[in-house]
Symmetry: C3
Subunit: 350 residues, 3 copies
């Protein structure tokens, strides 16, 4: 009996099953420094203790997506080691700020599973929740992955598909942000004069800059998150895969696009919720990521005069500038070179 973990197959998941994941992880200022080095993120709240404290934070929180990646990474050995594809995200909520010194761990519940018609694979739906060592819930989200069956002839289970929201209710947003003294928000230091009131639904923003990804960068990022998915790390096997090279962790693309979005959305300092996300195509090392955003919606949050919420669509491409906002064709198919379509709520000072 091998002591090596081979990961779970479709048959191994049961709806209602709860999995406590290894390994708990204390987040430090070292992680945040690496996050800055990997993406060049410049949002002032996460970059500066002084800026964050001036607004009402205890300290600068770590980047929201760093929290996401660490919480996510823990689920990989149990959920997606044998995954064929990471199909989507929904219902992600950032519930409390995370500070250096907090220890994060993750628990997942299987909330759905459905065999595919080919009989060889199936889709597993999981709600994962990240906690601090004090028991504070900092993030939860649903993702669904296509997983191989162990034995194709095993019978299909009764399908269970969870009901997932298209978008989070804006009234549920902002729990990770203290009431801010927005008079202290300094547009010069934050990098933009544009606040909540300056954005309009339907507005599109080209983030202009391109960022090329190197193998060492995405490998270091993905290991920092203790994400063990094999396709990211093994040139020896991936050279003979259908892509012919290592695939970059999809979350790495989200973080690059988010960092690029600073140019045009510098005051969108906090990701409050992930409504949905789709990795349209894979990214490989040597490719250059571009991004653009569209304002899908705007909302006031009851009881908060300090911040408002922008629902943003963040689209990333590979080796294709975004001045013409490439997305879907009229037939619904994505334009070539689109790699990410990500829908989230961001908070912005008023």
């Amino acid at each position: 009996m091998s002591k090596t973990d081979q990961g779970n197959f479709f048959e191994d998941f049961e709806v209602g099953q709860v999995i406590r994941h290894a390994t708990p992880r204390t987040v430090t200022s070292g992680d945040q420094a690496l996050y800055t080095a990997l993406y060049g993120s410049r949002f002032a709240v996460q970059s500066s203790d002084a800026f964050a404290k001036g607004l009402g934070y205890a300290h600068a929180p770590i980047d929201d997506l760093l929290t996401f990646h660490i919480v996510f990474g823990k689920t990989v050995p149990d959920i997606s080691l044998n995954a064929v594809a990471n199909l989507g995200y929904a219902g992600g909520r950032f519930l409390a700020p995370v500070f250096p010194g907090d220890t994060l761990s993750t628990v997942s519940e299987v909330i759905g599973k459905k065999e595919n018609s080919n009989g060889k694979t199936g889709v597993v739906y999981v709600r994962s929740t990240g906690y601090t060592d004090k028991g504070t819930e900092v993030l939860d989200y649903v993702r669904w992955v296509m997983v191989n069956k162990r034995v194709a002839s095993n019978p299909a289970p009764e399908p269970v598909v969870p009901d997932l929201p298209a978008a989070l209710d804006p009234q549920s947003l902002g729990m990770a942000v203290p009431l801010l003294d927005s008079a202290k928000w300094d547009n010069d230091l934050s990098g933009s004069q544009y606040r909540f009131g300056d954005y309009e639904i339907g507005e599109k923003i080209d983030h202009v800059d391109g960022m090329t990804v190197e193998e060492a960068e995405h490998q270091m990022a993905t290991r920092l998150y203790q994400n063990t998915a094999k396709v990211h790390f093994n040139k020896h096997t991936e050279a003979t895969s259908r892509f012919g090279h290592r695939l970059i962790y999809g979350g790495h693309v989200i973080s690059i696009a988010r960092a690029l979005s600073f140019n045009g959305l510098a005051n969108a300092f906090h990701i409050a919720a992930i409504n949905g996300g789709r990795h349209v195509a894979p990214l490989g090392a040597g490719d250059t990521v571009y991004a653009w955003s569209e304002v899908l919606d705007k909302a006031e949050i009851d009881g908060r005069t300090d911040v408002g919420a922008l629902r943003l669509r963040l689209v990333a491409t590979r080796d294709r500038p975004c001045h013409d906002f490439p997305g879907r064709n009229p037939d619904g198919a994505y334009v070539d070179n689109v790699i990410l379509d990500f829908d989230y709520w961001a908070l912005m000072p008023k």
Copy 2:
């Protein structure tokens, strides 16, 4: 009206204009760890809390050039996003030590501008000052950059060229170094028996070792400094530039050469001033940096018996060992493969 920042052009700068730059940045031990990983710096004062405290520091300060790069990086979106070339530095003074936990921000004043005879570009002179969140000035320096005009037919402004010192007065040096108990300076731990008295004006030192730079390294460094200059990051566009590849941030070269200079200058623990600097030619990934130094001058500092100042010329090359101290030819042109000519004051224990 786009919310994307396209950077400033020559016409956008006015002499006397003051720019408060985004993004404030709290420096941490994580940044210093990355600095060590990127350059392999070994100066004992910055590497060891115990060594620094023994001499009279509160803690180990961060590397002087890490301070420089962070203060510099903030100026890029406003000053040099459309720069054709970073032409030079002068009058740089390190005024206070920076410790993990300090938040740095930068303010620049435009102190000169002069259109070039081609009518398409001009030179802008800027004095940039780095501050901590307590208002302590930690660094100021002048740089001048060649910037594109927005419209070539716009009339040339009245030229204003600031008067810049060839070198800092040694009596102004050392403000970032407390009075040291130099009896506690341990030559074994610092890595060299050679102190201030052992160096002679005119002496040349080959630093022997070579360091090859990878794309992932310079990109991580430059993002760590939140420097957004496009030429460092975008393979997709730079592949068709006149160089055919991404260009490495010039400050990355200075830091590599400074780290190599440990071998021969291990006790030159502090950069007190930058007299001048010129990036003679660009560096690309895969190139190997070598360096040598020349002692240009020596000076006592009034009231200080602990340290003296060496004025050093640090020259770096690309794929060319420096045993014969390559610099300028008799006609004044640089020898092939010289990439950096940097003039600074270093402090050394007596």
Copy 3:
């Protein structure tokens, strides 16, 4: 007289000589974050303050091999700058936990030297000891290296070869681990249900996963350790070496293999001793490391009911999966593509 350090040659070492190495180094959470990013290590004790404190540690200690690499790195400029090969390790003991904030320095004693029959090189044996700034000994180990003679015609010294143990006595192990409250050891969080009692002598474990190494990764790692050996960093000279490329620091391979061994040995949380190690063949960038382990021995430690010791052989390969446990052929020669054969004692909760 050059101030540049050219390193020591065989003739420069004397048995009994004690060398205090530069540069002292304060270890921080930034170093640990980089270690995680470089190797993806997932052992819970080193990853989580909360997990470590629950067991009886003051905080999460840094990874044992991070301590090893930092202590080792300091010896390179004095011991192995002119080394032809790092031949082996023995008698390594981890004596105290190292926490962020501790400053490490290293002292070495030359304990043997023996000229090779070719008259051009010799073997130097060194015992190196790492200390904190409080004087606590955290690690000692012996290594022996082949070093060039300065002048081949110099007479051979009287050979002195130290008597080295084949393995550490298990009763000497565990000093770096406080008495643990092993009832608090949580198998879900640590990543495995298998504890000390579940492993049998002779058992072999394939760690399955492969990890490809990039130039930027091993260079950043090796600089983080302030290890200055030239072969790791200089493409310009190494391109014409007999290997044709930069060689990866052997300790980088040990750390990769150790991180891979989590899959099968997740509860082997501490390296208590290094019995021996041999770098069978070099690794270059672009190669993929695989690993497997064999349980060589098991031991109780007197007075400790919390943990037991497993003596493990950790074998790493290059571009070769390890499902058939490649090691030595019947004639004693290593199977092709084996690069590391490492023998250590690990502690595991009972």
